[in-house]
């Protein structure tokens, strides 16, 4: 029995000559929010489709809630709620009727969860309107309500904040955290890096069908590079001075500031002081100097850019 919420080994999916998912190993621990992060076309949705039995894998093993799929998909998926790409409904039916249809395919108790699910996603007062009158954000909420009918141990959400306004995204974040607090696992795929960083406890970064790196947000951030951001009154001269320093690996312009990537040769505080001294001694007025650790977004861009360069 495997204790992870999701575990896949050597998972591969090809569409003709195109390898959409390439020998992926992935372990999603239970009771956490796990981000599956990658640019569009990276193979995120394909992996989710294989986990949910929507398409077949060419190679590899998958376990969902400890059960092998597709062999025991019926049992495993009974406690999984999922939104793939965008939630789809019969527009001529009401929200409640659409949930009734979904509940019919689940265990008999699912019908009794319909009202609570609608209340929980804030759609109780619109539940008896036809879905074709719903906004995209409301459909997204109804999709989440449909997931809750399973009383799920695992929620698989593919780009779940699509169509939500900023307030809706904020609510959604809190909602996911509340699900995790109840002991549920949320596997969330997204290309919105900031969202994953805010919502998730752990992340796998995927590109061109391969998992490039995975781990907790804290672990990945700890392994990321530091940089120094300097704002001064003569950026072009500052840039030429700084690029001559052996501890500086690169200098890039970031708006009206300079971002200095470091080579880790010295303690950061000493190095920041040294760079400041060089600029001031050269008569350049420094009015801001800040140490920054690369965000997950920067890390993601670095990794995917390196892969693109290598290709």
């Amino acid at each position: 029995m495997i204790d992870a919420a999701v575990e896949v080994r050597g998972l591969t999916k090809r569409y003709g000559d195109i390898v959409a998912v390439d020998d992926v190993d992935l372990v999603v621990p239970r009771a956490c929010a796990y981000g599956y992060l990658g640019p569009n076309g990276a193979g995120k949705t394909t992996l989710i489709k294989m986990l949910l039995g929507l398409t077949r894998a060419n190679a590899g093993e998958m376990h969902v809630l400890g059960l092998p799929v597709p062999e025991q998909a019926n049992t495993a998926l009974a406690r999984v709620g999922a939104i793939v790409e965008e939630p789809r409904f019969h527009g001529f039916l009401t929200g409640r009727e659409n949930l009734w249809i979904a509940a019919a395919a689940r265990e008999s108790r699912a019908h009794a969860r319909i009202s609570d699910a609608l209340i929980r996603v804030g759609l109780a007062d619109r539940a008896d309107k036809q879905v074709k009158t719903y906004s995209q954000g409301m459909r997204q909420r109804l999709g989440v309500a449909r997931c809750l009918l399973a009383d799920p141990e695992l929620l698989i959400l593919d780009e779940p904040t699509n169509g939500l306004d900023p307030a809706g995204i904020q609510e959604f974040r809190e909602f996911v955290r509340s699900l995790v607090a109840e002991g549920r696992t949320v596997l969330l795929s997204s290309h919105l890096l900031g969202e994953v960083e805010r919502i998730c406890d752990a992340v796998a970064i995927v590109d061109r069908g391969r998992v490039v790196t995975q781990g907790s947000i804290a672990e990945l951030s700890a392994g990321s590079d530091w940089s120094i951001v300097i704002a001064c009154d003569d950026p072009s001269r500052a840039r030429s001075l700084l690029t001559q320093q052996p501890e500086v690996s690169s200098v890039t312009t970031d708006g009206d500031s300079l971002r200095i990537a470091l080579a880790h040769a010295r303690p950061l505080d000493d190095l920041a002081a040294e760079l400041n001294r060089i600029l001031v001694t050269a008569g350049i007025g420094v009015y801001r100097l800040e140490l920054q650790r690369a965000s997950l977004e920067q890390l993601f861009l670095e990794i995917t850019t390196r892969l693109e360069d290598a290709a």
């Binding site: 398409t55 019969h90 039916l93 249809i101 008999s108 009794a112 699910a117 929980r120 989440v144 009383d151």
Partner: protein, 272 residues
């Protein structure tokens, strides 16, 4: 979205068992399509009402030229017309039942529940027949009542012909439904399914039935089998191909089974 405690007090009191739940869900999806249901009712109940109103108006306007609206001849004519229009209605229902979830993208949402695809497919049959059979039965009841009520001394069908005609109507329309369901599930498009079915039934089959060099191969046509099974006098004798009853039954069974099997196969194997 609020962060209320999760919904736990789930009870299954009053919720039917799985096969019935799925079938009821299918019925709901079809019943709530107002356009479809209007067409189905017009092609069945509406059609026979219009037909008998016309018979009666002709009779009232010129009773010497046009006999009473009831009686055996009009009964046979009405049953034949109902079988044709009812089959159209059944094919529409079948195509919608087969391709409706796919077209709306909802099939994927049902597959991710873990429910077997065969169970989802199988539920479409009773779910749609729960609408089709009553509509045909009601239309046939109207025909039967008016046949007797407006006979005005003309000969009326015997009990056996009533029963055989009713059963044959249900068989013919059920077969059209099964073809629509199987083809709709196979193709995944309601419009394409309807176009292919109507093209085959209305154009291709009648043409093939008249190509005499085909000989006994014409026995394999769906309408040939159905016409052979039809009660005496319902289908024009000239339209009937000479074939044994057992071959006719086999042809009908093979068509129905093949359509259902093709739909089931595609439902199980398609990427959702």
């Amino acid at each position: 979205m609020t962060t209320l405690p999760s919904s736990q007090p789930a009870s299954n009191v009053g919720v039917p068992r799985l096969p019935f739940r799925l079938a009821r869900a299918e019925t709901l999806k079809l019943r709530k399509r107002r356009g479809l249901m209007t067409v189905v009712l017009l092609l069945t109940i509406g059609a026979v009402c219009v037909m008998y109103i016309a018979f009666e108006l002709f009779h009232v306007s010129n009773s010497e030229k046009y006999g009473p609206a009831g009686g055996l001849d009009h009964f046979r004519h009405a049953v034949f017309v109902l079988s044709q229009l009812g089959s159209v209605a059944a094919a529409l229902l079948g195509a919608t039942a087969g391709a409706g979830d796919l077209g709306a993208g909802v099939f994927r949402e049902l597959v991710v529940t873990g429910r077997s695809r065969l169970a989802l497919y199988g539920a479409r049959i009773p779910g749609a027949l729960a609408l089709l059979w009553p509509a045909i039965a009601f239309a046939f009841t109207i025909v039967s009542v008016l046949t007797v009520g407006l006979a005005d001394g003309l000969a009326t069908p015997g009990t056996r012909l009533f029963v055989e005609s009713g059963l044959w109507l249900e068989l013919a329309t059920t077969l059209a439904f099964v073809l629509g369901l199987g083809l709709g599930s196979l193709i995944g498009s309601r419009a394409t399914t309807i176009a292919i079915l109507f093209g085959w039934i209305i154009v291709v089959e009648p043409v093939l039935a008249h190509v005499s060099p085909l000989g006994r191969a014409r026995d394999a046509l769906l309408n040939a089998g159905l016409d052979r099974i039809a009660p005496h006098g319902i289908v024009d004798r000239e339209l009937r191909l000479p074939m044994s009853l057992w071959i006719a039954v086999a042809v009908v069974l093979i068509w129905g089974t093949a359509a259902l099997a093709a739909g089931a196969w595609r439902t199980v194997t398609r990427d959702a």
